[in-house]
Each structure stands twice: as structure tokens, then as C-alpha cells.
């Protein structure tokens, strides 16, 4: 518990940073922010979860103020695939991007990139 709360705070802060980075640089913002985090902290742990949380929170906000379910259904119909797959893709993409960029960032710094130096 003593380690869990700071970790949660870290993830939350990272998620906020990810939202800001996305607003500024789009999807590249996630890559840059995660790489910077990895290079600065030497760790990749938590950054993937933060990226997922960041983009998921934006989706939730979108659903609150707009007809997101209808959009999911329409896009699914256009793509000829279940709409939820697009939502999953929207969450998996930043996760993969953030994790890999943070690991690379940590390696560049000279860390082990496994979250435990």
C-alpha cells in the first residue's frame, strides 16, 4: 500500500501529461512524452497504463458530451467490423506506443528499462 499510492499518483500525473501532450502534438505527443519519461526516470512502468487512462478519459468525456456510442456503431458499420474493436484499438495504440517509447527512452538513459534499476 505504501508503494501503491505513490505509484497511482504517478500514473495519474502521467495520464494528465499524456492528455496535454496529445492536445499539443496529437499521437506523436504520446510518443514524445513517454520517451521523455523513460529517458528522465529510467523507468517504463506505469507509462503504458497512463497512456491508456489518458485516452480513455478523453473518450469518456466525449461520451458524456456527445453521441459516442452512435459514432462507434457508425464507424463499425463503415469499417465492416464491430465498433468496439475501434475503441479497443484506440486504447491499445497509445499503450503500445507509450510503453515502447518509454522503454527505449530508459535504455537511452542507460537504465534497464524494467522499472527496477
Amino acid at each position: 500500500m505504501r508503494r501503491f499510492v505513490p505509484m497511482l499518483s504517478e500514473v495519474a500525473l502521467l495520464a494528465i501529461a499524456m492528455v496535454a501532450a496529445t492536445a499539443v502534438g496529437g499521437w506523436w505527443g504520446v510518443l514524445v512524452a513517454a520517451f521523455a519519461w523513460g529517458a528522465w526516470s529510467g523507468r517504463a512502468g506505469g507509462v503504458a497504463i497512463a497512456a491508456v487512462c489518458a485516452w480513455a478519459s478523453v473518450l469518456v468525456w466525449t461520451a458524456v458530451i456527445g453521441p459516442l456510442p452512435a459514432l462507434v456503431a457508425d464507424l463499425g458499420s463503415i469499417a465492416g467490423a464491430p465498433g468496439w474493436l475501434l475503441v479497443v484499438a484506440t486504447l491499445v495504440f497509445p499503450m503500445a506506443l507509450a510503453w515502447s517509447a518509454a522503454v527505449v527512452g530508459a535504455v537511452v538513459r542507460g537504465g534497464t528499462a524494467n522499472g527496477r534499476e
Binding site: V19, T22, A23, G26, W27, W28, L31, A44, W55, V58, L59, T62, A63, I65, G66, P67, L68, A70, L71, A73, D74, L75, S77, I78, L86, A89, T90, F93, A96, L97, W99, S100, A101, V103, V104, V107, V108, R109, G110, T112, A113, N114
Partner: protein, 854 residues
Amino acid sequence: MPRLILVTVAPSVLTDIHRPRSVWRAVIALVVLAASVAAGSMRLGPALDPLNGIWAVARGTELPRAATGRIPGLSARVDVWYDTRDVPHIFAASEEDVYRALGYVVARDRLFQIELQVRAGAGTLTELVGRPALATDQRTRGLGMPRAAERELAALDTASADLRAMRAYADGVNAWIGQMDPADLPIEYRLLGRRPRRWSPVDALHLLNRMSATLSFSDLERRRMLAAEVAGDTVARAVFPVHSPLQQPIVPTSVPGLRLRKGKVPAPGTASAGTELDTIASALPGIDDTTQAVAGVARRRDGAEGAAGSNNWAVAPRRTKAGYALLAGDPHLDMTLPSLWYEVHLVVPGHLDVAGVTIPGGPGVILGFTRDLAWTFTNTGADVTDYYVEQVDDMRSPRRYLLDGAWRPLELRTEVYRGPRGEVLQVDTVRYTHRGPMRLYAGHWVSMRWTALEGGGAFGALRAGPHAHTTAEWLRVTAGYDVPAQNMLVADRAGSIAIRSTGRYPIRPGDGRGDLVRDGSKSSSDWTGWLPLDRYPAAVNPAQGFLASDNQEPVDPDMPNPTGGAYLGANWETPWRAARINELLRGDSVVTPDDMRRWQTDPGSARADYFVPYFLDAARRADSAGGASAQLREAARLLGEWDRRYTRDNERAVLFEAAMAELSRRAWARLSPLQYPVLAAVPVPSSAVLVELLGDPSSVWWDNPDTTAVETRDDVLAASLAAALGTVTARRGPPGDSGWRWSEVRHANIDHLLHIPAFSRRGLSVQGGTETLSPSSGDGVLGPSWRMVVQLGPEVHGWATYPGGQSGNPLSRRYANRLPQWLAGTLDSVRMPHTPGELAASDVRATLTLEPAR
């Protein structure tokens, strides 16, 4: 980028080589990163980005309660109030400001639509959607449309009000493009991976050209000559006549109802196939090809008669219950989502106060009303396109053409077709004679003259119309309107009603007909002038107290009329709808606005009233003669039960339509080009010609050449009816099955501009059928695009709706919210406040304040 990361990272990885797990982890991360970056770069990243990508569309569906914007060039603040029908009321200090605001407001709701429509008219769809649109763009440019728009713009005086209005509108569109939030980018751009392009004044002219092509292009030469190839020229002239055999003209005559002209369809003669002109004519572009080309991504029009039809009518005060003039407008066009129309109210105090609909992309209200008068159009269908066979110096790559024995240079225009990234997809050359664009058809160079390529009066006239205060003034300021020719109906507060088929009608040499391909090597083949205004079909305050137009022949050629026998065209709708509305108007001398509304979806059919008795009489005669089969007796019984109304729940209209299809097929079997399999199918003659044929019971056309017996009209009618029962039963089950219900047979289909099913509304059950006042075509793509009723009392009052909604965002509540009302045939009351303050807070859904850009 991935290569850069690899190079940077590699030394660090090597230092950790003694820790295999970390190495593998780094390698995997590199692979995942490279894959993610690659996927992201291939549009996945921008698309999935929840803040700026496709998901953002869901956040931009509704207008914010209050918004502000800036437009360069505004002279003062503009207030825009959106009422609860989502109609923007634009209050501006000057007319230019109102057009700037209109551009901004329309772009805010319909940005993708206006770009698509303009690109369709400009022949630049490839720049938006890529190579699949190349053939469409080539056809559009081959018709000379973009060149015409550019020339028209160049001919405008730089200080002219028209040009100022176009520039102002472009300023407004561009201001919106520059200021919009990422969430406001329409979903279509996101799906195509494109960004909107900036607007320019010429775009308004591209849009007008596109409308002209939709409404004024005709293929009379083609259809008549196809018929001539099969059955001879005499027959071709009879089955595709210049004048409709059935008359109920726009300009009233002393004959109150339908009048059948004296005429007879001659027996099929010697085919004239093989002549040079016939071969060329059969290769000319068909109307479907052309309208599809200029509509860009719109679907093919249904060529079936009665598939489309606009209506308008006006009633003088003495025949209305309230004692005020009434006007109804009901243009039938391609129905799309978003809609062809956008409803607005424009106010410049003391100068302009007009409500109605604008075509997104065009500055001004096309159909609508002011506090003094109301106006609406139907298409005239005038023949304003002619073809000329040219002699050129080089068949492969001509540079000169022969005229009166002398070679004249062709104007060569290089057309470059670019893809979305600016890459060149194709380069070709369009050649122009003094008549217009020249193309190669069936091995011959054929030039085309078309009034749409010589326009210049439509925009000014449409802009000037709302400034008029009386019908006389309105007719005067719109006199210069040129193309596409429209039956312009107007009524004013003083109780005056008037109609004029306004357009630019060419005068041809010789017999004056425009349905022939002419010899281009002689200047004597050219048009010799234009029909003067006082010879346009027109009527003002007729004795009958009402006026109506339904795309029928404007004047009865056998009755006194102002045209002096001038050839106006040959592509008239059979006046079934005209007969119906005239019957309704004649039968009611206390007309109310609600009557006008109800008639717009009236299910009655003059065509059914005419043909059903023929079928029943033929069946009865066959029965009396002992020659009726059980199937014929049953079909006649079922048809006899029909009230001849195309209501949704009736179960007999389907039988009648099948019988009509059979009758037409059998009657015109000799026009089937079996002996000329290379020919395209000859279009089916109109039902007016069929009526003419009905008057000749023993005509050879009724005889089936494949049998030894000699069939007569009644034999064919009876056989058609019996066969129809078999057809309908096979397709829809026995009588009584739900498949016979009209609501299961005919539907309205309103497709999204890109034909995306999720954004379309298809299979909508509608009241009305072939040739009713609200006709529904077989494919349901054409239909009533805007319904309006206006009462011109001391306070003008309008009611209206259209099949769609104000927003172009498919996720918006405002995208198709008017559809239920449109389907029910009801109308909304149109608000027309003098000032923003007149709208109660509860009547205001959103506001927009536009300020001059600093």
C-alpha cells in the same frame, strides 16, 4: 524516425548485453515502437487520437449555446440567432456583411457538402477523393463547365454587386475554416484523410453550373435518333414529339382540363440506321451519364417517366378563405443527406428581409419569401443544348475546324487532373469551337453549344429577387435570369399572382428545332438569336384565379400564347400532375394554407383515373366475348377495387403499376432494337404518347409481330392486366399478402453524399406514386426536396420543411430531424422576426456573434 531511434539506442543496448532479459525487452520495445510509429503514420495515429481524431466528431455535433467568430471585411457586428428549428436568423448592417455571415454559418454546418458540390461542378473531385473520380471529372471538364465559370467570373465588373457578394461569401467560408475547432472538422474529411480547401469567389459559379447541368442538360437528339434507327424518322418524330400530345399547360387556356391533341402514331417505317448523324447521335452522352457526372457522387437518376416532378401553384385572394394570396412551392430534386437545401433568414434592416432556402455554397436565398412576396420555381426543361458535327484538320489531334469553307483555330485548353496530394493523375486537352466544347463521338468530332456555358444572369437575378416588393417588380428584376430555365411563380401581399418560364431560349435556323444534330461546317447552322422576353411563356393574374406548373409544356401550341410558336424544347413531363392540381384548385374556392399543405402529398392520380377504365373496359369486353381467362377476371376484380389513390396502405396500386409497365412494354415492343443489338435501348415514349396510341384501337403498334393473330388495343390491355397479376403474385405473393401494400413497394431513399449506408436513410415509406403530386420513383432517390406554403396577408406567414436537417454532421440531432415531419406531410411554421429581440428566449437555441477580424 524508427531508424533514428535504432541508431540512438543501439550503443546503450550493447552496454546491457550481459543482461539478456533487458536486451530482449529493449528489442521487443523497438519492434513495437517501430510498428506503432508505422501504423500511426499510416493515418491510424491521427484517426484514433481521441482529442483531434475521428472521435472528436462526437463532440462537435451541436451548436454551442453562445459562440463568437471573426470575419475579415465585416463592416459591423453581425448577430446570428438560431431558433428552435435550427434556422439561423442573420442580422447584419449591409448586404455584403450578410453574405459574409451566410458563408460562415453555412460552412459551420455543411463544410464538406459545399466542397464536394463545388468540386463536382469544377471537375476537381479527384483532388478530394482520388483516382476513382477521374472519369467523372473528365466528363465535367469535357462539358466545358469549369472554363465557363472562370470566364463568367472574369467578365464580372470588379465593382459589381454580384462579385462583391461572391467575395463576401468566400470570406465567410474561409473565416470558418480558419477558426474552427478540431472537433468541427466534418467526419467525411477524416474518413478521406483530407483537409478542407480554401474557398474562392468562382466556387459560387461552379455551384450554379452544377445546378444548370442537373436541370438544363437534355438528350433529345440521342433519344429521337435512336428511335429513328429502329423505326424510321417519321415514327421517331411521333413518339418523341416536340409538343406533348396531352395538354394542360402552365399558361391557362379556355380548356379547363386535360386536352388530347389530334394526332396519330404512324406505323413503324423503314429504319434509318446507318446514317452518319444517327450513329453520332446514338453515341452522344445520355442524360443519365451527364447528370451523374456533374452530380459527382450522386446516384444515377431514375429515367422512368413520373419519377420526378416539381410542383408549384398560387391562388389569388378571391379563391382563398382568408382573402390573401397563397403560394406553394415543391421542387423535386435529388434527395441527399445532408440536404440539398439549407434554411436561413437574412436581415439587413431597411434593405433586405428574406426567409427561405439557400443552396449551400451559394450566396443568397433561392426559394423563399419576404414580407411582401413569395416565389418558387419548377424546372422548365427547355432545350438549350445543341450538337454540331465538325470537320477538322486532323482526326487524331485537331487544331482547326472548318467553317464556311475556311479553317478556324480551335481553342485548346489543357486539363490537368490532380490527386489529393497534388500529384498529376492525368492530363488531357479539351478543344473548343466558337460554339463550345468539342468531343469525339463515334469517330466524329462533335461540338456542343449549351446556354449554361454562356450564363451570367442567373446569380444577379436570384440576388435581386428578394429586393422586389410586388410581382411586377419581381418579374422585372429577374428578367435577366438565364439558365437553367425555371417556371418562376410569384405572389405578393397585394394579391397579385404571376408565373413566367424564365430562361434564355435560343432561336435556331430552319425549322427551329433543337432535337437534331446539325452540320457544324456552316455558320448558318448556328443559333440566330434569343427569344425576346415578351415571348416567354407567362401569365399574370389569370381569370381562373390560380396558377400552377408541374414541368409540363408551358403553353398549348394550339391555343393563343405569347411564344408565337417558338420552339422551347421537347422534353415535357406528361401533365398528369398538372391535371391533378388544377382539378383540386378548380374544385376549391376557399383554399386554406392547410389545403395547400395537404395537396403537396395528395395521393390522387390523374394517370390512374385515365388508364384504369381502359384496363377494366378491355377486361369486360374480353369477358363478354368469352375470351377472359380466370386470371384476367381476377385481375380486373382487384383493379376495380382500387380507389386510385397511392396511399401507404392501399394494396392495388402495385397491380396497376405492373399493368402499366406491361402495357408500355408491349405497345412499344417494335422499338426494341433487336435487329440492332449494338444500339443502346431506345427510351420508352411518354405516357402521353401512349394515350395518343390508345385513341387508335387498331393501330399496328398493338399487333404482336411474333404471333399469327392480329392483336388490337383491347387485346394488349387485357393481356397486360392479366400478366401484371401473374408478375405481382410471383414477386409479392397472392393478393392480400402484405407485399401488395404500397408501403412495401415504393420507398424514399435518402443517401449520404458519399453513399455511406450508416449516414443514409433508406426504405422510408411515403405516400404517393408515379405521377402523383408527390411522385416516388422506383429507386426513391428523387423527391420533394423542399416543401413551402406562404400566406401573403398583412403579416406574411410561411410553413416549410425538407427531408433532412440543418447539420451536415451525421451524428448531430440536427442531421435528419425533419424527416419524420416530411414523411408525415406536415410543415413547420417559419419564424421571421424583425429583430433578434422578437425571438423569445425559449425560441432561441443558440447565438453566434460575428465581429470584424482585427
